[in-house]
Symmetry: D4
Subunit: 255 residues, 8 copies
């Protein structure tokens, strides 16, 4: 709902440069493109320099192909998450600047180089098994214009591995804490530093882990303050939120 956009239309109506019917159409047709099975919202990327994002899970390969093909016309950056090998193979011939990362299951087409924000995002993981989720966050935060630093395998079972890296945490604007098992990493980090912490529970575990429910509940109930939680395995979401925070900081820096 762009108030300025609406005001502009009203001005044109007043001046008579467009008639009421045209104004109605403008108000009704905000800048998205209707493909029948998908309505691509160029709005956000146009405005922000943000990439177009496609969440691939559950979409048919035909639909994904069509969406990417359409997006490529605008020459924006594109990030596809939860993309398996098969999707990669089908998209490969659309463009030769497609970068696939099988660990993070991300596909990136970077058409525009964006200047990086000054502030840093640190991504910490409890263990080695949490890395795929952390890498989804890494790739996302990177394409969104952030400087990102990895701090992997610093889980609480060996607390000195984390304590030895406190300075890295101190130098971050935002910290993303990725952890499966009991998810205690977020609490310990939240207790060590007064920074926004985005906690990502992972589905790494078994039995009473219930595919990530255990760390999800732990993170929501953290005794440390300043922790926001995203969905299980949602590396993308954590990075997006971290980037939004980083952008607000950058904007303030430039004021």
């Amino acid at each position: 709902m762009e108030l300025k956009y609406i005001e502009n239309i009203l001005q044109k109506v007043k001046s008579g440069s467009i008639n009421v019917e045209e104004a109605m159409n403008h108000l009704k047709n905000l800048p998205f493109e209707d493909m029948g099975y998908a309505k691509i919202d160029h709005h956000r990327s146009l405005r922000n320099g943000y990439p177009e994002v496609i969440y691939c899970e559950g979409k048919s390969i035909d639909h994904i192909y069509g969406i990417v093909e359409n997006m490529l016309k605008k020459d924006t950056n594109i990030l596809a998450t939860r993309a398996n090998e098969e999707i990669y193979q089908s998209l490969k011939n659309l463009t030769n600047d497609l970068v696939y990362n099988p660990l993070s299951k991300t596909l990136v087409i970077q058409r525009k180089k964006t200047q990086k924000y000054k502030g840093k995002i640190v991504i910490a993981t409890g263990g080695t098994s949490d890395i795929p989720v952390a890498e989804e966050a890494y790739v996302t935060a990177d394409i969104l214009g952030n400087q990102v630093q990895r701090l992997y395998d610093v889980g609480v079972a060996g607390i000195h591995r984390l304590l030895a890296n406190t300075d890295i945490l101190m130098n971050a604007n935002v910290i993303i804490a990725v952890a499966g098992m009991e998810g205690a990493l977020a609490s310990v980090i939240g207790g060590l530093v007064d920074k926004p912490v985005i906690a990502v529970p992972t589905s790494v575990g078994y039995g009473a882990h219930f595919n990530g429910l255990a760390p999800l509940l732990a993170m929501l109930n953290s005794c440390a303050s300043g922790i926001g939680v995203v969905n299980i395995d949602n590396g993308f979401g954590a990075a997006y939120l971290a980037s939004t925070i980083n952008r607000q900081i950058e904007l303030a820096r430039k004021e």
Copy 2:
């Protein structure tokens, strides 16, 4: 784990101004006060100008009384959450600058006036029933040094009430979205503005609401990006996280 603090101790050991045993004691006795049943951590408040915080639920009145009495000696600001009338009555005679808010169930003792950050936090609620949680967030964000604006009863069942206030959302640094029922408010706000959104599910609902599980799951699964979730009814936690973000922004502004 204060690296500077440790370095300082090491310097003193080197210079001989303290001996090894003393250094050991310093390293072991970081600045918290041991009351037997509670270990008060003056650390954070000393460093940050942050208030001391007491979460009252589950603590005996005797313990709360003792903790507050001890804190008052440091003359810091104090925030007690989840405080019922009975707790208020018992603490009232400790000091006469105690402010009790029965709606938010908060007790505030403000000894130091802090300068407010420039950035604003907006607190939106889906309905009137979400107000107690929103007010806990309000009081918390306020005592932590933020400018806060209320935007209550803008739930998605009447979407125009929210759309009519988009400009308020646009002017915020961080938005706290408090909602019970199906918790869709966070998604709609997240879709409207590119700001960090802290989502607070509330226990307002019945039946298959399961005391807040419904909006909690909804918020974690939001189709909008940039949303971090805190525990059900955790107004305090949302405000604390929002304030941490706002502080990072403020720091950048001052760089």
Copy 3:
């Protein structure tokens, strides 16, 4: 989002009868009234002859009082649900045409007599314990302008009690099936008649009933087709949906 309303504003802008700033205000201030803690939406009742509805649970008595007081100025019909005795006592002196039903926990102020739709809604219950929920549905459907017929205590443990009343079901436009325990009533009714059935699970039960989860799941999994489910104990919601259906039927009748 009233397209006609917007078109009208555009016309006025064009004709110059209002200026752009005024138009912006009109577009921003759709017809709801801001009370700070609540935004009353007179929109719906104005348009539909529908009553204003207040869901009382979780709202403070002060807020409810203020909302009703404000609504009374418009002289519309008012329905308050989940209203306990205390709320009734506090509202009683606002107006003397307040009708309180302690069984359904509803408060009704009927200022306008509406003509009833021709079609009938039948409300069936599995047992006697389901009656409070059924009565909430009854009062709601009635104030919304429907003819309503009760068919109580026809649960499947004594299937002949239901079979003996098949003709009542046959004469309904919509059937509301209210049942706790295992909630089989909806399935059996759905199997007997080809009418829209709104199923309301109730929290009547114990143990593995989990406060209504058992009949909720049963109703969602009904082997009979044509069943829509509302939340546990949501008599109001069932009646509202049934009334919406009935209204569409009435509109067709009048075409």
Copy 4:
């Protein structure tokens, strides 16, 4: 339980045209056909012009083959849902007018052209991934004699995509809202229009989505009124209910 049917039998007993034993058999053998492993109920399709429906999941291919073979003898329309490729292949040689839709996993044999009801059903989805469920609803509503309109990918993360299509919603008799993720689509539609809304949660999501539990709970707890919910991914059920409503409307139109 057909009262007319029973009355007819009683008349025949009275007139002596059948004896008591025969009457008993008639009363016991209502019009379904016993195949041992399945009892086909021709009753409904005979009466309504409705198609016979087979839910394929969990049934052996032999059983499905037998059931369809038997149904074909009556020359009614047939709809098979949750039919995979293997089932399609096995049934293909039974008849050459079998239409398989791999997206919706439906098999249709349309022997009788039915006149469409005048009222329209609109099927909206939150995203592209919800399309398979929406298509199951589309195929079902179509074979049941309804005019159906698709409105796909209008989820709340980009609310203007929905607002721009409000007129389509306004022209529907019934709206089916299909959404995964947090399922907020149903609430927003329910808040925009005063029509019966059938909400279908989909299993599209991950982590704390719990295979559709998140949108299911959200839809059951919608702050908008007039919403009936069907089981997760139950496109068929939603369409059947919508069609039942549409039929009641059609009947009223013809009164």
Copy 5:
């Protein structure tokens, strides 16, 4: 659905002793009594010598009073379960042969002495805390005409207490195993004797007991065979099922 009853009506129609309309009424009005809020089914008690049963929870006292008052006219035995002190007080003046048991929360009015079945039902409990549920079963089994023997506090933590009483188990027709905590009693009894075992989980426990969920799941997953489970705390249901089994045995004995 009484086939004999229907046949009888058909015969009367044939002979002309009743006309078709009367037959229709008979078929529609099976022997239950309609009180508006309750439909009392005298059918079962008339046929079986079984008592009328009222489940009191969730029913208003007025409704219970009315139901009992109506039942008393038939002079059958009456059993009311889940009856609290308040209900007892309100019913006391209806009749002076009302027996209230506050431990089992049962009310019994025994107007007819029934001869006891020869076979015995044994009711075993894991602990002392399970006794209220066991006593509900005791009172129920007794009024239904069974010989009942108590075997209380024989839980598996002291397995010799149970082993020492194996002969009591051996002499039962049916065994009711009532247990909270982890509910292992049913499995151990099921492993010791080849009798039908009715398992009743109780809500006795705390924490991860989830009000009876733990023993419920344990009993459903028993490694011993021959165990049927009823709802948590459902002493009545267990006794009713045990009595049904005992009656089948008695009938065979009398063949």
Copy 6:
């Protein structure tokens, strides 16, 4: 714990025919055979004419092979449940009287013909998809010496299919009600006949069915009395319990 067996040993000790050490060994070595990975309990089959039973799921094929090979030496009847094709193939060469039923996934070796009990067990299913579970019950009840009658596809969506077969239910000693979806079949049968009903929820369903949780809860909460529930898909367990009841009846008949 065989008291007679122990008494016998004591008598031998007394008479000196065995010494104390031997008696200790007898008491310690009750009649089961230790294979290291399994302890086969010949006890029950020796005493009862009951078959040896192997639950195959989770056991390695080597272990199953070894167990069956050992059992065959005793020439008892053998029933293996949850046996897949692979297990069948591996056991086939052990004996040529092995009967495999792929629908029920049962393997039967019947070495001894047992006389059937006089009483009948009826197995009813809600739909065609419930047949595999029902067949597991059929095979089990049959090998345990019962007369069994099938009554398939009589679910409550077409209630007349069940009502037309009430006489079959009336002639049973015990009824096994197998149903997925919402599991209402057990309630309706329990309301129609005063027989012990063993309810078996099946995992047939989807979405909010949660693999059988929906009918499990429904059956535990049945408004009809006299229903005992076994685990989801536990056709074996239902048949075993039904057979135990039938055996008690048979014993009474022979008294």
Copy 7:
């Protein structure tokens, strides 16, 4: 099952000092006392010097009174847990050496002074609100003969409070970690020291804490090894297990 006890009986049978019937009675009547509603097992306390333990929750005051009265005859130590004020008042006049602790809700009658084991049990809590559960563990461990040390309020939000006390943990034989919120304390302790850790989740928390489910799952999924978990709030159970471990250690020390 005392093999020595049985051997002794067999010897007596052999020598003729008791006859077979007497032997049978001895074997059947192991040393517990039957009070009808409770079977007191003096066995364990006789053998171990362990106190008799009564879990009060769910037991009627009459039953508790009777059990304690009976136990007092043996002059053993008695521990009653989950005892409220009302129970204390009713038992007070039975004996004047009854010690009630309202914080831990324990009642202790210590008739015999036991020598303490040499090894120490440390009880750590995350916060002040966990103290009631920790105190139940303290009182239990103490009466069972252990030296116990408290280490309260050392939760992970301020990790230095725990690190500063590592030496206390190092000097324990067994550590009991009591924590609510996200329950991370157990993991951090388990990572710091190679000692058996008994983790006790507490119900301290709200919202998505689900009364202790969050820390329960966290503790079961700990990334640290060497952690055994007991039920939510089960201070008694943790202390009992710790004491059993401590006793094994003590026995080894004395070998």
Copy 8:
């Protein structure tokens, strides 16, 4: 946090043998090795003679290969759990003293022979299907230096199989009870012997077993005292805890 290690560094600072910067580095770089994706903690194995442990699930084969390759340089014992055939094949060429056990899914490289503790650990299982989990515990306890004894297939459905082996239980220091189904084994063992019992629920079961939830809850709610529970299928964790207990006992023995 090694206090001695820190003291040593402080001494060196004091003596001037290292400067402050070096001390800082030492304090920051505790003895773990940073591989980027994993931080191997040689600390524990160096100190304890304990093996390095790798939990393979969720880790990429490349990462596992790298970790093992690195560990091999230290010539410590190595235990890899949850290792499938593919992992075994990939590691096989790293060293020829790799022992793979496909039943327990463990890989062992034993470079150092450790002297066994004197005390024994007994591992009991309820059934044959629980053996894989029990064997994971066996292999773990063995490599950790314990004497281990198997007692398999002694579940409570045939309680005499367990009672006949009470002496084996009596001779253990610690007992690990591994059970699926309803998990009653732990309770019965806990009632028979006064030893620490580590209970391991297994995922063996179906339907309302919920992959191990049933025995997990049962074990947490055991009516027997002295039971600590580990995660579902966590044979490793149970053995590790048992070994920690056994080590404490061994240490006491050597005092």
